[in-house]
Symmetry: C2
Subunit: 324 residues, 2 copies
Amino acid sequence: MISVIELQNLINRAIAEKGIPETPKELYEPIRYILSLGGKRLRPVLTLMACDLFNGSILKALNSAVGLEVFHNFTLMHDDIMDKAPLRRGKPTVHTKWNEAIAILSGDVMLVEAYKLMMEVDDNILRQVLNVFNQTAVGVCEGQQLDMNFEQMDSATVAEYLEMIRLKTAVLVGGGMKIGALIGGAEEKYANLLYQFGENLGIAFQLQDDILDVYGDPEKFGKQVGGDILSNKKTFLLINALELAQGIDKEELVYWINAENPETEAKIKEVTAIYNRLGIRQLAETEINRHAEIALRSLEEITANEDKKQGLRSFAEELLIREN
Amino acid sequence: MISVIELQNLINRAIAEKGIPETPKELYEPIRYILSLGGKRLRPVLTLMACDLFNGSILKALNSAVGLEVFHNFTLMHDDIMDKAPLRRGKPTVHTKWNEAIAILSGDVMLVEAYKLMMEVDDNILRQVLNVFNQTAVGVCEGQQLDMNFEQMDSATVAEYLEMIRLKTAVLVGGGMKIGALIGGAEEKYANLLYQFGENLGIAFQLQDDILDVYGDPEKFGKQVGGDILSNKKTFLLINALELAQGIDKEELVYWINAENPETEAKIKEVTAIYNRLGIRQLAETEINRHAEIALRSLEEITANEDKKQGLRSFAEELLIREN
């Protein structure tokens, strides 16, 4: 079986060799730039694994997998403008390195490029693959809108949060795996089960992110631990804490949320202490396990090579015990 | 034969009946809004006429035609952000009525919707139609980038200008007509000729716009006559004038271009007078006629119903003698 690292290398080579036009350079340089910032290429890796699970040729799925990564990076380029983010993977975002107009237009052409790559599949599955891709793309846009609305809302429910991360993050993982399965020749039934696997893995992955932001090892996490707490980001942890806290815990939590220019160390320490008293980390882990179990059950129902199923299972577990 | 007005009505009805989702409302309201601002729907009308030319069912091309209009409006939504335009057809642009983030994301989802509509064609032409659409979409993005670069350049050549308007405006007309032809069952050869018809018509149409901006009847034009002169916009007229002017004409032209806070009436009057002395309007009309002739020759080479060819010819002539 091909290892995850080999798949990542394959994808990175395909991205590097993709012939991005030279001119107009303002349009195409930002595409080369954002694709060169790296990342784990998890989505296309999972697309290739999905194809391989049904004994499809990985090379036949490579262009669509790269298309998925191009799409993902298009969303990052546009999200960074909307979120006014200065950095992406420690480097200047496209709209700061160039300007907003270039980041908008370069992103637009990336979305078209993603479609072009996605279309490099056999005629008999072209419509099916594009239908999944369309649905995925709409979901991701809706998720980003919900995420922006979220930051404006006074309060949010756990259900609203889970729906937001499902759309913003998880449908792309699920959609990519379904596309990989279709290219691999899977029956619709199995492709849908793999969608479920991917979507639930995506939700669990995002929840794990929320936990790492508070409980991650500062040496390994790569970002500032406690960043979500400092910015009052409505994560799974904060939403649950606000729902569960009572009496003095509630008062203290609201105090820290409303504090102007709080002492950062103190805010992180005290809010984390409240989370601990309320057992919020365990709640999040329970939710992660719930989605991981749905994912694994979906995989179980698929008739395929046991070794390859085990490969997917191991990769999913690796993703959910990661430290960054 | 179906009249242009009937085709416009058909398209407007199809747009109105298109089930745009309700939520998240921040994402979908701007789409309903920009599509409701109207416009002549020239691109989808030409797509339907192209389909009809080969005796294809107009109704079979309707969704793709609407997809083309949705795509066109997506480009307007994003261009307006990049150009910081406050108004579109006399109404607030999406980024001024809502905000930039909403205009970016709403535009993104419109592009996906355009693909969904474009895909509503028979399986046997799906790939061909999407290839044309992809190429068109990339061209339009490149054209917008060239247009933005244009405004930053000290000088530009006529050839650069023509290539810019070809990409920004004309490929979409050509691409839409080729798609209509393919849906109508045209052979590739004829579909390509109709592409040439559309592209050259598009270039001529854009040049006509440049003339109208200077020589239009203020009562009929709808915008301020002389707007391009006031903003020193590098149109076909100005580029040619800068190339041809000598002596006192050249000095005067450069004076008006560099004048800070010029008296607007005087600037429009004097620059127009220079254009008149140099015969710039005639130059532009010659260029329009050149493209109109290529368009008509392409149409001539197509074997199709003579009445329908005449319908296209008349519509093209109407577009090129318009006053707004």
